[in-house]
Amino acid sequence: MFDQLDQIFVTLKHQLMGFIPGAWQPLVSAILSIALIPVVFPALFSIVTVIERKGIGRIQNRYGPNRVGIPFTKIRLAGFGQFLPDGLKMLTKEDIVPRAADKLVHFLAPVVMLVPVLLAYSVLPFGRNMTVSDFDAGVLFFFAVGGAVEISVFMAGWSSRNKYSLLGAMRAIAQMISYEIPLILSAVTVVMIVGSLNLSAIVQHQNQYTFGIAHWFVFTPWGFAGFLLFLVASLAESNRTPFDLPEAESEIIAGYFTEYSGFKFALFFLGEYLGMFAIDGLGITLFLGGWTAPFSFLTWIPSYVWFFGKLMALVCLFIWIRATLPRLRMDQLMNFAWKFMLPLALINIVVAGIWHFMGQDWQRWLVCSAILAGAYVVLGSALMKKQNLGKRTYRFAE
């Protein structure tokens, strides 16, 4: 019974295929699989915007949206209908293009942003047997399409002919490029251990249980360090606080999309959130076991529930971080990426190799943890020494 519930979407699609004439089956099957991505994830985006506004409101001791419910009824839903008027507002707003702007590039930038982000979803396994396109080089594909986002950010910032936009774009590119290296290097450890770039194979590798606990990579020393590196780098890749310098509203208005309005602005917003979901999904697949359950007695819960549950948990963590931490300075951002995260990611690759070759002994836990903890302490103290942290002195205008 639970197995049927787990595979309900797969069997549903198979039964639908029975009604389609044979020649059309591959095309209709592909369209059905693809159509789910631009339906499910923007819907998730609309709900997350409300959760984010309400959650941050709660943390900052004020009310978030709490009135809008279902339109034309008296049902309020505690403000969870807020995304409907927000979306309608975006659709009906005037689309303003600056007179000096490079019209074509300005128009294309949001599209170039959204397309690679949607492509990235095609390799993520959302549940057992639920991958849109399950092929060998999945991890490589994910990072390859992610590289195209930088071009779109540059296009938006440059074509607006606005100093704030260009500054925001330069910041965003510098940040994305710097943090992509620790991101990829921390993912490389998982590829090394599993011996495959296929995301479904990576999930299958973690789908075993010892004493009822799953073999998630986050439960190993190198996996834990890799997951933390991946999490910080993914925060920076999706331009979230404390790495939201590209759109620091107190300094450069909205960064590279300052000159966008109406639905193009909404597309950037959507692209940013969808990028965050995608990279969270990859982190879940690589380190948190994908769609598998953490304990063997919980395996009866359908796989897609686990995937989306973990996704929402990570998104809520990101919202919590956004409401808690202040923004970094540009030099701190760069120092952190190049002097701390990059060496630690390189050391983590060596540790993953040691872990693999030390066999099944218990000593490998000790050795790997000791190396990582030592590296963390040494690198951290080296980074902090340069900061001259002491009693804070204030300088006032004279």
Binding site: D136, L140, G147, I151, D331, K339, K386
Partner: protein, 192 residues
């Protein structure tokens, strides 16, 4: 030749041609990015998954950005009024046609084509990795060492702070991308 491959080739060649003819350097760089994506699409249609995705990762994700930033840092930003063709364009065209003919002749007469029309083997990323780790392990290690050295070198260049300036934040947005992009290209290639 299949229709999708033909379309990809036409788009790639058009993008390459436009990249040469446009007056605005940034437009040329963006067209070049389209050209790189087209080349990646050609590789993918020839079942070379690894080369195709690496082409996008390195060329679209890193080289195109490097070119664009280099253009922004060096050019004055003004689009030239006159034509981009210099007076010696005719000689350049003759040279490029000669080079193309020589390369084409070499490819058509190489022993790879002479071995007959054997069916193309299906090579997965795993096969590429296996060969790299066994047969070609020495060149791979040498390249990896060189790229890691380049990356660490770039970090050390960025690490150096002039005495007395370490209390002031250096928030120059111009210097940071240029240094990190070059290290980034090295890092990305090293990651593979």
């Amino acid at each position: 030749m299949s229709t999708p491959l033909l379309i990809t080739l036409v788009v790639t060649l058009l993008a390459a041609g436009t990249a040469m003819c446009l007056r605005n350097l940034v437009h040329s760089a963006l067209m070049l990015a389209i050209c790189f994506s087209g080349i990646a699409a050609v590789y993918l249609q020839l079942n070379a998954e690894f080369v195709g995705f690496t082409e996008i990762l390195v060329y679209v994700g890193a080289i195109a950005i490097l070119i664009v930033i280099a253009v922004l840092l060096t050019s004055s930003g003004e689009t030239p009024e006159k034509s981009v063709l210099t007076s010696g364009w005719f000689a350049g065209a003759v040279v490029s046609v000669l080079v193309f003919t020589a390369l084409g002749w070499a490819v058509l007469h190489s022993h790879v084509l002479a071995s007959g029309n054997a069916p193309a083997p299906h090579i997965t990323v795993k096969d590429v990795g296996d060969v790299l780790m066994t047969q070609y392990v020495l060149p791979l290690e040498i390249i990896a060492l060189m790229l890691t050295a380049a990356m660490i070198g770039a970090v050390i260049i960025a690490y150096k702070e002039e005495p007395g300036t370490d209390t002031k934040p250096q928030t120059s947005t111009k210097e940071i991308p240029a240094a990190s992009v070059s290290a980034y290209v090295a890092g990305k290639e090293g990651a593979q």
